[in-house]
């Protein structure tokens, strides 16, 4: 498995897209800091970008990579290697390379602009951690889709819809539900609904970390009570990990049964 992971990883490291992705974050980081000069404000802007972009890139990259390396995968399948090793190895390879592009690409400019002198260092690292976790989650979802559908067009289409669902549609439905039931106490519902969407969960975690929670009035305080405690933080990190582990298990199960 390590060997396959290594292979996928180096393969991607050599690929143009990884560089473009890396350079994009590098440029983004420098431009943000150049325009703002203020690390804390740059972190807030980054939040908006990361929670939308990392899932999108993760899904598209995942699907694309899977389809492109299909022939090679089939070659590997002919060898005496466990199927789960092949797919999990590939999955980890791509997730790691995407996360690396993100962490290094954003890390360099922020280090250059004196992150260590800033109080935002903890927030910045939690932002990177969450960005990396989102990459892992959405690559796993993309792999699942690609495993289920041999048709490229279908796979791509569904991958984009998945992203769209979590990034936009889910929040829309969420908002409409809350507006329809606004006669009822909604705190718990809102908490629950956030948990089931990794993007929402990441967003709330970072918003509360950036300490604007107290600016959100009464309801903000309710969320702060949950997410602000170490239990809440731990709980949400566990949930995010579950969002990685469950799709990964699905990959393993599906790949075992799939007829290539």
């Amino acid at each position: 498995m390590i060997k396959i992971l290594k292979y996928s990883f180096y393969d991607l490291m050599r690929s143009r897209w990884s560089y473009i992705y890396f350079l994009f974050y590098l440029a983004l980081g420098f431009i943000l800091l150049f325009l703002n000069q203020d690390v804390s404000k740059a972190v807030i802007t980054l939040l908006n970008i990361i929670i939308v972009l990392t899932p999108l890139i993760g899904t598209l990259f995942g699907v694309m990579y899977f389809y492109n390396s299909k022939e090679f995968t089939e070659l590997l399948l002919a060898q005496p290697i466990k199927r789960s090793n092949i797919f999990v190895g590939q999955y980890l390879g791509i997730s790691l390379s995407l996360s690396l592009s993100l962490v290094v690409g954003l890390g360099i400019p922020f280090l250059a602009y004196g992150l260590f002198q800033s109080a935002e260092i903890f927030n910045f690292f939690s932002l990177l951690l969450i960005g990396a976790m989102l990459s892992f989650i959405f690559v796993a979802l993309a792999f699942n889709l690609a495993l289920y559908f041999d048709d490229k067009i279908k796979g791509f289409g569904l991958a984009i819809i998945t992203w769209l669902f979590f990034a936009v549609i889910y929040d829309g439905l969420f908002l409409i539900t809350m507006l329809m039931f606004d006669d009822y106490p909604l705190d718990k519902f809102a908490l629950g609904a956030t948990i089931f969407n990794p993007i929402d969960l990441s967003r709330i975690l970072i918003i509360l970390k950036l300490d604007i929670s107290a600016l959100l009035g009464y309801t903000g305080a309710v969320f702060q009570d949950f997410f602000g405690t170490s239990f809440g933080l731990f709980f949400s990190l566990v949930l995010l990990s579950l969002w990685i582990i469950l799709p990964l298990l699905l990959i393993v199960v599906k790949s075992k049964r799939k007829d290539f």
Binding site: I51, D200, L215
Partner: protein, 414 residues
């Protein structure tokens, strides 16, 4: 005739000068307690109290005298009642350290209490854990300055206010520091008074509280971390300038709460990191000019019945919501403000954006209706609906626009 008058005046003056004597109080002086010294003093005398601890309370001052503490002598009321009760005009109290004023649910015990007097000075005193520190009732023409008041209030029902004015006029409250009381400064029926250079922090209710007090001004004060910020209610013609309202965080906390305020001027103030910068209700003809609203949850929240307010040349920077309205009618004027979220352009380079800015977002309307939806703040979906509302307003007031949004902040003071 005039010469004669002058001469008599001079004589009188010399006479009072002669009679005004100094009475010293200390452990080894003629007088060892302040009460005795006050009893012995005559009009215009000075009582000099030297450093030490004096266990005394309910000191009634019924003649115009000056009480001056050297090196902050401590007066310990042993939780039994008032310390100074001033019942005479022209009294000065300065340089004392006043501790352990009694707590009561029936009397307003205060370290210094004035009643029906005129022309007084209270300065350079230190108050530690008072119930009320300075309570001014029906008194006029006074100066309260450079006092330090440190309380230990925890609950509203059994704590008192730092500086409390009730039916007073022409009082100057300058350069005091007030911490952890119920209300830092409370003006009730106080007229023609000014509050300047004070710092009011960590009070459990309001840093500054106005009720039925007209024609007052407050300038250069700092209000920080108070339970509910600053409240100005039921008052007319209040002038507020160069104050700083910071870090008033909480479920019902405001930088500045305006309720039933008419014809006020709010100029050159800074509102920074408050849950709600300004919460206005029933406020009319208020002028907001040159204020900085920075990183607040809501910069200004207009509730019902706010008409004829003018907002000009203010900076709105990085607030989660700039303006919030709960109706569809706009009776206020927004002009030439700087909005950090403005995305328009300026073709003729006159520093005025060519497209009007709409400061009310659809999402702020949604949050007003259902507060829990705040959880979707900064979500992509919310950005999309805000954008569509911006293009064609359906829910937010149609005419609520800043027609001349500035491209650069008004004299950037950061």
């Amino acid at each position: 005739m005039i010469k004669q008058l002058f001469f008599t005046a001079l004589l009188l003056f010399a006479f009072t000068e002669l009679t005004a004597k100094q009475i010293k109080v200390c452990k080894s002086c003629g007088y060892t307690s302040i009460k005795e010294a006050i009893a012995a003093a005559e009009n215009g005398d000075e009582i000099i109290v030297e450093a030490g601890i004096y266990q005394e309370y309910d000191l009634r001052i019924e003649k115009p005298i000056k009480l001056i503490g050297i090196d902050h002598p401590t007066i310990d009321a042993m939780e039994k009642g008032y310390i100074f009760e001033v019942l005479s005009d022209s009294v000065t109290i300065s340089g004392f350290k006043l501790i352990n004023v009694g707590k009561s649910y029936t009397s307003d015990y205060a370290a210094i209490h004035t009643y029906r007097i005129d022309n007084f000075v209270i300065e350079n005193n230190i108050f530690i854990n008072p119930f009320f520190a300075i309570l001014i009732e029906k008194s006029h023409n006074g100066i309260i300055s450079k006092n330090i008041i440190k309380g230990n209030a925890v609950h509203e029902h059994n704590s008192g206010n730092g500086i409390h004015l009730w039916h007073a006029s022409k009082i100057e409250v300058n350069d005091n520091i007030i911490e952890q009381m119920r209300d830092g400064i409370y003006f009730e029926f106080a007229k023609h008074s000014s509050i300047s250079g004070n710092k009011s922090r960590r009070n459990i209710r309001y840093g500054l509280h106005f009720m039925f007090s007209n024609d007052d001004r407050y300038e250069n004060n700092m209000f920080e971390n108070n339970g509910a910020g600053v409240a100005v209610m039921f008052s007319k013609r209040i002038y507020m300038r160069k104050n700083i309202f910071r870090l008033n965080w909480g479920t019902a906390s405001y930088g500045l709460l305006l309720k039933e305020i008419y014809d006020a001027d709010i100029i050159d103030n800074i509102f920074e990191q408050n849950t709600i910068g300004v919460n206005a209700e029933g406020s009319n003809r208020v002028v907001f000019e040159n204020n900085n609203f920075k990183s607040n949850g809501w910069a200004i929240k207009f509730l019902g019945a706010c008409y004829g307010n003018k907002l000009m040349r203010n900076n709105f920077m990085h607030n989660a919501f700039d303006i919030s309205y709960n109706g569809r009618i706009n009776g206020n004027i927004f002009d030439k403000n700087y909005w950090s979220e403005y995305t328009g352009y300026d073709l003729n380079k006159d520093n005025i954006g060519d497209i009007p800015y709409r400061p009310v977002k659809l999402f702020s309307y949604v949050v007003n209706r259902t507060p829990e939806t705040i959880i979707l703040l900064r979500s992509l979906f919310v950005d999309i609906i805000n954008f569509s509302e911006k293009v064609s307003p359906v829910f937010t007031p149609d005419n609520l626009k800043d027609f001349n949004p500035l491209m650069k902040p008004v004299n950037d003071r950061n």
